[in-house]
Structure formats: structure tokens, C-alpha cells
């Protein structure tokens, strides 16, 4: 699994390539942590190439909900496959996280 982070038009885009399981979830954790430490207000998570996410990966997302709210930052996920989006929905995380279809929609949501 690979994670890349770039600053793009005022948004901080974290791209996930591969599966997020127990061991690789640490990388995701570090990436989001870094973004928040740097004070990024508009964070996009590119899930186009995210094939599978385990409960460890879900745990990473959920653990930052409070902190993002406190820092007034917005994190938006986009490009989720049907299967992955279903996982978020069953858990109920879709009510807490912003999930969009396309990158543009996500950008709008993050800045809106």
C-alpha cells in the first residue's frame, strides 16, 4: 500500500493506493496526523485506488473526527468504490464523514 500527499489548489490531497489493513493503517494514520499537525484545513482523501479497508483503517478515520471538528478542518473522501462505500455505510461512518463521488465535488465540500 502506498500513500502520497500533495498540496493542490489550496487542498491537501492524500492518495491511497492499495489495501488498508492492520499494518498499513499506520501509514494512513501518519499521513492524516501530519496534515493536521501542519494545520491543513481542507483535506481530501483520494480513494479511487482503495480496494479494501479493514476495521483498523476505519478506526484511523474515526479517530480524527473529533480533532478535525475542534480544529475546524474539513476532511472529505471521494472516489470510493461501491463495495468500500458500503463498508462505511454499514458502520454508519457516512453520517460522520464527508463522502463524495468526484474530486471536484469533494473540493467544493472541503472548501464550502
Amino acid at each position: 500500500m502506498q500513500i502520497s500527499s500533495v498540496l493542490e489548489d489550496g487542498s491537501y490531497v492524500i492518495t491511497i493506493n492499495g489495501d488498508v489493513d492492520a499494518s498499513s493503517s499506520i501509514m494512513l494514520d501518519e499521513a492524516i496526523n501530519k496534515a493536521i499537525r501542519e494545520g491543513q484545513q481542507h483535506i481530501l482523501i483520494d480513494c479511487v485506488n482503495l480496494n479494501y479497508i479493514s476495521s483498523a483503517g476505519l478506526g484511523v478515520f474515526m479517530s480524527y473526527i473529533e480533532e478535525l471538528k475542534a480544529k475546524n478542518s474539513r476532511m472529505v473522501l471521494f472516489g470510493l468504490s461501491e463495495r468500500v462505500e458500503n463498508v462505511f455505510r454499514v458502520l454508519g461512518l457516512d453520517q460522520l464523514l464527508n463522502i463524495m463521488d468526484t474530486k471536484d465535488q469533494a473540493k467544493q465540500q472541503a472548501h464550502g
Binding site: S55, I65, V90, L91, G92
Partner: protein, 687 residues
């Protein structure tokens, strides 16, 4: 087989008896000879028998006395011989003294019988001394025995014992048969004499002690020899030892061996230290080889290597530098301060640079690339040996030995250092393997405990009444699972049912699950509606779950009197419900967030409760995501649709059969291979 002590006692008595017999017989014969008119009729061979008996008794006596000395202490053995000789000499000297001064001139002094008696006392002592010395020499010779040496010695011993019988054949001293036997025995003795390996094992002090003791022993031997030769051909003597080829041969052998031992010990004095040095190297090597297993840390192994190397090479100073846990370089030094150390390093560096500029300058590199000896320009140290310690092809440290003379490290020393280094490397590897094995074992033990905890958390029986049948199946992934299911009978007609999945695997999941069980059994008693249950459960668990952990649940309250099912879903995969009257099989929709995601009072806004009125023939299938997310080797998921399909196909069957169909279908689909998560089903069929 009589014990050694018995034999010793027996032979002592036998010896004394024989000696007394000899004395008596000789005196009587002597008396007979000097008084022509007396006829005692004593057979002339009798003295010989007693003498032979005496010698043989002495032989077995000392052999068994010495057999007890299991820990061969050479000095002790020599000391024994010395003491025996001393006693014999003292008594003998005393007798001389007695004769010369006390009774000189008197009639008594001239009396034949007295002289004869005194002679017999002397030879009794001499024989005891000779035989005991002979047997001590035997122990020394056979210290490192080979088969051929043993055989040669046995031939020698038996020949000696056999030669005792020669006495009964009429002969004259040194006639042809006598001389032949004498020559044969002495020749054998000479062949055996060069077995002096025991000398090498003495340290310096012991060698000096041996020299002293052997000199004194030779003194006694000489004194007795003079006495015997002096007394030969004395007509009074019936038993003249100098007539016995056996005694003479053995005497000669003892003297030969004593002289050889003396000379060899003397000439080996200068080389004693080499032997001791080698011994110490072996001991150090052994300590190094055992250090990994006896649990000594790596640092202790380094210390051992450094000390052993210094001692083997007689280095004046040394140091060992290594990386501690891949961080900074650490140093262990001997007899050198860090400042001086840096000076030496510079000197070595200078020398290395000089070498690359002018190849061919003398410096020895061992055939293996890890040892280097070098002469350096330094105020104090003139030569250096550098050894690179490698473990599993990774260099972990460098050892530097220093000497104040140039060319101080010869090939022999380099080889030994290499040996030590190799052994240290092996020991360190052993140590590391041992550590990881211990850690592994600890980990397995932890899992084992968690597994037993997990097993105890799952219900042994499922509560039900005549209105429904219920069955459940759960299989954990690793030794420990995170799936949880349980039932609780609230009242006659009311039942609570729960199925859940604790995120994660291994021991932490098991602990979370046990907390879940506690919460379930506490809250279920209060007969809350499912939404309230989840809210309270979330509040309770929110405090104990780790930061990134959450729990998914479905909670059902069944009322068989009202015929209702109330349920709430907290992030768990939606359960399947079959409505028999409408023949419809559907997933139960219910909004609900998993537990532990929102850990404050906001949570109640994210869960809802629903109700179903059940009828006979209805079916409720609860399960965990281990079922729907199970994959084939190619990565295809089992999925919700396939689950629904299998239930549909088996809808008429009993709860148990439906469960079996699901499990079988699952295993068939994944080819019994790809189920990485725990999977659980709990199925209710209404009667």
C-alpha cells in the same frame, strides 16, 4: 567380588603373615646350619614361598590402595612414594644406629640370629618401598594409556610375577638363564620408560616439587641398593634379595624411570608456560562457546572476547568498538584511555594511507579478510592487530589489540584470535536466536491465554422457549477471535439476543470482547429497549476501548407473548429476515452507528429502534462480516447476495440445517482457504 577395603585388609594380614613366616623359617634354617647336630627338617624351598607370598601380597595390597586415588594428583603420588621411602629409610637407619652404637662390641651384636632378624626387617621395608613405588610408576605411566601401551605393561607385569618363580629353579646370580631373564625384563622396562606425558601437565611450581621429590626418592633407592649389595653373599642370609632376578629387575626399572622423570621434568621447565598458555586458551574458548547459551548479554560476550584475546596474544592494551542497537558507537577499553585511543587510531589511519600510496609495504593480512596486523608509528605502541567481528555477514564491531614491540603478533596468535572471534560470533548468533525464541514463546503464551479467555466468553447454551428454535456457530480466525454472540432470558417470555464484532484481532480483541460481555449481561437484565441499550453500552464501552477501536452490534429483544421483535443495529451487518406469510426474504434496514465512534451524548442521535411482529415460520439470520467478506483465492467476496441466496434455497429447513448450508456454502466458495476473519452465525426459526 570383595570390596577394596576387604582386599586391603586381607593382603595386609597376608603380607605380615608371610613376612613372619619368612623370618621364622630363615631363623630356624640359620640355626640349623650353624648347629650341625640340629635337624629341624625344614624344606629348603619354604623361604622362597614365603618371600614370594610376601611380594605378591604387597603387590595386591598397594594396587588396591592406589586404586582409590581416582583424581590423579601427580604430586600426591610422588609424595606417597617419598613418605614410604622416608619411613623405610628412617627405620633402616635406626637399625644401623642401633647396631653400631648401642650394642657394638657386645655379644649380642655378633649374634647371627639377631643380624638375620635385622636383615629381614630391612628387606621387608625395602620390598614394601620397591613394590609401592613400582605401582605408583604404573599409575604415572598409564596416565594416558593406549591399547598397545596397556598390553606392553601387562606383559611386563606378568613377566615380573612369573619371574618370581624362577627363584625355585637352582641358579647362580647372573648365570645365563638369570642374565637372560634380567635382560628381558630390563629391556621391557626401557621400552615402557618413555611414557612420561604426565610431566607436561605439571605447572611450574609442581615441576619443581617433583624434581625435589624424585631426587630424594633416588637417594633412598641408592641407599637401599648399597645396603643390598653390601649384604650379598653374606653366608648368614638364607634369603638374599640380590639373588632374586625379579627383585633386581624391578629395582633397575624403578631407578631408570625415576632418572628419566627427573631429566624430563628438568628439561621441560622452560616450556611449562607454553603448555599452561595453551590450556588457558582452551578454557577461554570453552567459555566463549558457552556464553551465548548461558544467557550472557552481547556486552558480556564482547568482554570475554576482549580478555581472552588479550591474554592469548600478551597484548598490552586493547579496545573493542561496536554499534549499540544501531545508534552510537560504544567502546570497551583495556589499559588505554580514550585520548590515547584516538592517537592510536590516527596512527593506524596514517599507516593505512601510506600503504595505499606505496603497495608492498609490510603488513600481514590473514587469509581471511577480517584480521589485520600492522606496525604503527606511535610513542608507546608499535604493533597492532585489528579484528572485525561479523555476525551473519554483518560487521558488528572491531577489536584492536596493541603491543609495545613491533611485529608483536605472529601467525599462531592471529589464528587463535580468529578462532576466538569465530566462536564469539557463533555465541552472539545463539544469543540472538535464543532471545527471539523466548519472545516468540511469550507471544504464543499470550495468545494461548487470550484463547482460553475467548472460549470462556462464548455462551454454552442459548436461551429459548417453545416459540422458537435457535442455533449458533462461531469460528475464530487466529487463536483468538473478536466475534461475540449471546442470549439472555429477561423473563418467561422475553429474551435478549446480541451478535457483535470487536474490531481487530488477537489479544486486544479478546479483552474488548470480555468487556462487551460484561456490559451485555448487566444491561440486558434491565429490560431496556434496544436503542437505550446501545446508548448505554456505548457510554460504558467508550471509556475502555482504545482510541481507534470500535464495536459493531445488533441487539434484539424478543417477546414471545406479544410476538414482537424489537431491534437496533450499531454498525453491524444487517440481519436477514424471512417473512413466511409474504414469502419475502430481506435485509433489515436500521440506521445505526457503531459503538465507540462517538463517545459522548451525541451518540443517541445516530441509532434508532425498529419492531417486527413475528409469525410462525419466520426466520431471523444474524451473522458477522467474516461471512460476507470471505474471499476466494482470486479475491472475489462472498457478499450479501450469495448469503441471501443460500438462505433462500434452504428456507424450509430447520435453523440448524440452514446454518449448516450457509457454512458449507461458505467453505465451498472460499475453497476452505480464504477466511481470514472470525465468522459467526446465529439463526432463529419461529415455530
Amino acid at each position: 567380588m570383595p570390596s577394596t577395603n576387604t582386599i586391603i585388609r586381607f593382603t595386609t594380614i597376608a603380607a605380615i603373615v608371610c613376612w613372619l613366616g619368612l623370618v621364622m623359617v630363615d631363623l630356624m634354617i640359620g640355626f640349623e646350619l650353624s648347629n650341625a647336630n640340629v635337624e629341624l627338617g625344614i624344606p629348603r624351598f619354604l623361604p622362597g614361598i614365603f618371600l614370594t607370598g610376601y611380594i605378591v601380597s604387597l603387590f595386591f595390597h598397594y594396587e588396591h590402595r592406589l586404586a582409590g586415588a581416582d583424581n590423579l594428583n601427580f604430586i600426591e603420588l610422588l609424595w606417597r612414594v617419598f613418605v614410604t621411602g622416608l619411613i623405610a629409610t628412617i627405620v633402616s637407619v635406626f637399625i644401623q644406629f642401633f647396631l653400631s652404637f648401642m650394642v657394638s662390641g657386645s655379644k649380642l651384636a655378633e649374634h647371627d640370629l639377631l643380624l638375620s632378624l635385622l636383615y629381614h626387617i630391612n628387606i621387608g621395608l625395602i620390598l614394601a618401598f620397591v613394590i609401592s613405588t613400582f605401582l605408583v610408576w604404573k599409575k604415572l605411566i598409564l596416565y594416558q594409556k593406549t591399547k598397545s601401551l596397556l598390553r606392553t605393561w601387562q606383559v611386563f607385569e606378568y613377566s615380573f610375577l612369573a619371574s618370581l618363580l624362577f627363584h625355585f629353579i637352582p641358579h647362580v646370580r647372573f648365570d645365563i638363564p638369570f642374565s637372560l631373564i634380567f635382560a628381558f625384563l630390563v629391556a621391557l622396562g626401557l621400552v615402557i620408560t618413555p611414557n612420561l606425558k604426565w610431566v607436561a601437565f605439571l605447572n611450574f611450581k609442581q615441576k619443581w616439587k617433583s624434581i625435589l621429590l624424585i631426587l630424594l626418592i633416588l637417594l633412598y633407592l641408592g641407599y637401599f641398593l648399597i645396603y643390598l649389595l653390601d649384604q650379598r653373599d653374606n653366608e648368614l642370609l638364607i634369603s638374599d634379595l640380590s639373588n632374586h632376578v625379579s627383585v633386581l629387575s624391578i629395582y633397575t626399572f624403578i631407578i631408570l624411570y625415576a632418572i628419566s622423570s627427573l631429566l624430563v621434568t628438568l628439561f621441560n621447565l622452560p616450556t611449562t608456560s607454553v603448555f599452561e598458555q595453551k590450556l588457558e586458551e582452551v578454557v577461554n574458548f570453552q567459555r566463549l562457546s558457552q556464553s551465548g547459551q548461558t544467557g550472557q548479554s552481547q556486552d558480556e560476550i564482547y568482554d570475554l572476547l576482549l580478555d581472552s584475546s588479550m591474554s592469548a596474544s600478551f597484548a598490552t592494551a586493547a579496545w573493542f568498538e561496536f554499534n549499540h542497537n544501531n545508534e552510537n558507537t560504544e567502546l570497551i577499553t583495556r589499559n588505554i584511555k580514550e585520548r590515547e585511543l584516538n592517537n592510536v587510531r590516527t596512527a593506524i589511519q596514517t599507516q593505512a594511507e601510506k600503504k595505499t600510496k606505496r603497495p608492498g609495504i609490510s603488513s600481514r593480512v590473514s587469509p581471511r579478510n577480517d584480521t589485520l596486523t600492522e606496525n604503527i608509528k606511535h610513542s608507546l605502541f608499535k604493533s597492532v592487530l585489528i579484528y572485525a567481528l561479523e555476525v551473519q555477514q554483518e560487521k558488528i564491531g572491531t577489536m584492536v589489540l596493541l603491543k609495545e614491540v613491533s611485529d608483536g603478533f605472529n601467525n599462531d596468535v592471529v589464528n587463535i584470535i580468529n578462532t576466538f572471534g569465530n566462536q564469539a560470533s557463533v555465541s552472539i548468533e545463539n544469543y540472538r536466536l535464543l532471545q527471539s525464541a523466548i519472545e516468540n514463546e511469550r507471544y504464543l503464551e499470550e495468545l494461548n491465554i487470550a484463547k482460553r479467555v475467548h472460549e470462556s466468553l462464548l455462551p454454552s447454551t442459548l436461551e429459548s422457549n417453545e416459540y422458537f428454535e435457535i442455533t449458533a456457530f462461531s469460528k475464530p480466525a487466529d487463536e483468538v477471535g473478536g466475534d461475540y454472540y449471546d442470549t439472555h432470558r429477561i423473563s418467561q417470555d422475553k429474551f435478549a439476543m446480541i451478535i457483535g464484532d470487536v474490531s481487530g484481532k488477537g489479544t486486544s480483541a479478546a479483552f474488548n470482547m470480555s468487556q462487551m460481555k460484561g456490559v451485555f449481561h448487566s444491561l440486558a437484565q434491565i429490560d431496556l429497549d434496544p436503542r437505550e441499550f446501545l446508548v448505554k453500552a456505548n457510554h460504558a464501552l467508550g471509556r475502555c476501548l482504545e482510541r481507534t477501536s470500535f464495536i459493531t452490534l445488533s441487539y434484539f429483544v424478543l417477546d414471545t407473548r406479544e410476538k414482537t421483535i424489537q431491534f437496533s443495529r450499531a454498525g453491524h451487518c444487517p440481519s436477514l429476515y424471512y417473512d413466511h406469510s409474504q414469502l419475502k426474504l430481506n435485509f433489515l434496514e436500521s440506521k445505526g452507528l457503531g459503538l465507540g465512534i462517538i463517545r459522548n451524548e451525541e451518540y443517541c442521535n445516530y441509532v434508532e429502534v425498529n419492531q417486527i411482529n413475528f409469525k410462525p415460520g419466520d426466520l431471523l439470520v444474524m451473522y458477522t462480516d467474516g461471512i460476507t467478506e470471505a474471499k476466494t483465492p482470486t479475491g472475489e467476496e462472498f457478499g450479501y447476495d450469495r448469503l441471501k441466496q443460500i438462505v433462500n434455497e434452504n428456507i424450509k429447513k430447520s435453523a440448524r440445517d440452514i446454518q449448516k448450508a450457509i457454512i458449507d456454502g461458505l467453505l465451498e466458495f472460499t475453497l476452505a482457504d480464504g477466511i481470514e476473519d472470525d465468522y459467526t452465525t446465529m439463526i432463529l426459526k419461529f415455530n
